[in-house]
């Protein structure tokens, strides 16, 4: 026969184990959620030091379906690729703020920008940039024209631009605008003029 006080002790110990187990599981889930949230909110690339420069950004305005040049002071590093990436991130930063002239999904960012030849540039975006982009011919074309024109206005020598999404080719941005082709900057300039 087990003494009563011993039974009570064992029951309390088991209860304590059960409660602490539940608490640990809940804390683990909370931690994972916070980590995921932080990863989504964090920029795709580290912030860089650089010299503050005055540049022009071509921004899309959905309300009147227009593209307009806006001045901006941006910290730009010396490296050509990194400079281009920071310029594009400045454009996206304008779209991600509230209220936004051209809303994009949270997590829309530029992962990488690099030249594959003297005049051809690859722009690699995050998956959220395309996955969460509002669907519509005009909305998608305004985004691409805004990014390409900002690049060509501030980085001399670019004649062709190609977009990747999370390192891979994608057929369209959100069902409409072509992402498979290389964009000739001269043709995009003509397209952008229609909206300026």
């Amino acid at each position: 026969m087990i003494p009563r006080h011993f039974q009570i002790t064992i029951a309390l110990v088991l209860l304590a184990i059960l409660v602490s187990g539940i608490v640990i599981i809940r804390m683990t889930h909370k931690e994972e959620a916070l980590t995921l949230q932080a990863a989504e909110a964090a920029p795709a690339a580290p912030m860089l030091n650089g010299k503050q420069e005055h540049i022009q950004l071509l921004l899309a305005y959905d309300d009147d379906q227009a593209l307009r040049w806006r001045p901006a002071d941006v910290f730009l590093p010396a490296d050509r690729n990194l400079r281009a990436r920071e310029m594009l991130r400045s454009v996206l930063a304008q779209y991600l703020q509230m209220p936004s002239p051209h809303p994009l999904a949270k997590g829309a960012d530029i992962k990488d920008v690099y030249f594959i030849s003297d005049d051809t540039m690859i722009v690699d975006t995050t998956a959220q940039f395309a996955d969460g982009h509002p669907s519509g011919i005009l909305l998608e074309e305004l985004t691409l024209a805004s990014l390409i024109e900002t690049l060509t206005a501030n980085v001399p020598g670019i004649t062709r631009v190609k977009f990747l999404v999370d390192g891979k080719e994608r057929e369209t941005l959100a069902g409409h605008a072509d992402l498979m082709s290389f964009y000739q900057t001269a043709a995009v300039h003509e397209l952008a003029k229609e909206f300026e």
Partner: protein, 254 residues
């Protein structure tokens, strides 16, 4: 018995290789309009092709593309209205208006099916359509937008009788612009707000005939206007009248 099994296996392998090769070719190049890609094989209904595509094409017909479909809903409006449904309804109305004016028309999809952009272009080229009209619905703004294709990458050049897939539209650009202009004018006559634009849009650039896209833009305060029967009828009639205008310029295909 052993030999017959080996033979059958070889035949299956050869067939598989042929299918792979055909798929690869169709991805990379488009044949000129005069010699569409499928000219070597008889036109036939494939499992993933839309219903209603006939074996023999009439001399002049319009291919109407209700954009999106299946898992690809396109744009959504107010949660319930989706682009793929709006475009299908409008496409049926455009076909009706064209047929009333004596012009044959076909839809690239008759129901809610998945159809990739490349496949839409392939069917249109294979079927030797005379004109291609893609229908869309999207924000922002209001009224109707008419898009003519523009080529953003002109570095690719044709190789003999083959055109680069991305620039298959190059030989029809001016006719596409004429068609867009004619449709825009008819829409204006109906009192609709119209914007005419040139955009690099798929699958327009992969299509080797005159091609345009027409996009309905909803009034933000009245999203149901996209489903308004009178409005759809007005837009469809204007598209049909624009096509009638350019019909004589383009002529019937032989």
């Amino acid at each position: 018995m052993h030999w017959s099994k080996t033979g059958a296996a070889l035949a299956v392998l050869a067939l598989g290789a042929l299918c792979c090769a055909r798929s690869e070719v169709s991805k990379t190049i488009a044949l000129q309009a005069q010699i569409p890609q499928a000219s070597a094989t008889p036109l036939q209904t494939e499992p993933n092709t839309p219903a209603g595509i006939q074996k023999h094409a009439p001399e002049f017909f319009v291919m109407i593309d209700p954009s999106h479909g299946g898992y690809d809903k396109g744009a959504t409006f107010g949660g319930k209205l989706v682009e793929k449904d709006i475009t299908l309804r409008l496409a049926r109305e455009v076909r009706k208006q064209l047929e009333e004016r004596g012009i044959a028309a076909r839809l690239l999809r008759e129901s809610d099916i998945d159809l990739g952009l490349d496949r839409r272009a392939e069917i249109t080229n294979e079927q030797r359509a005379s004109l291609y009209v893609a229908l869309h619905a999207g924000r922002p703004g209001r009224g109707v937008r008419v898009y003519a294709p523009i080529l953003t990458d002109t570095q690719q050049t044709s190789a003999g009788r083959f055109l680069p897939w991305d620039n298959a539209q190059s030989s029809s650009l001016s006719q596409s612009q004429n068609l867009a202009h004619a449709v825009s004018e008819e829409l204006k006559k109906k009192g609709l707000t119209v914007a005419s634009l040139g955009v690099p849009l798929r699958p327009l650039n992969n299509i080797a005939i005159p091609a345009i896209a027409v996009e309905l833009a909803p009034d933000e305060n009245d999203l149901q206007s996209l489903e308004n029967q009178k409005r759809q009828n007005n837009v469809a009639t204007a598209i049909a009248l624009g096509i009638v205008q350019v019909h004589s310029q383009i002529g019937a295909r032989q």
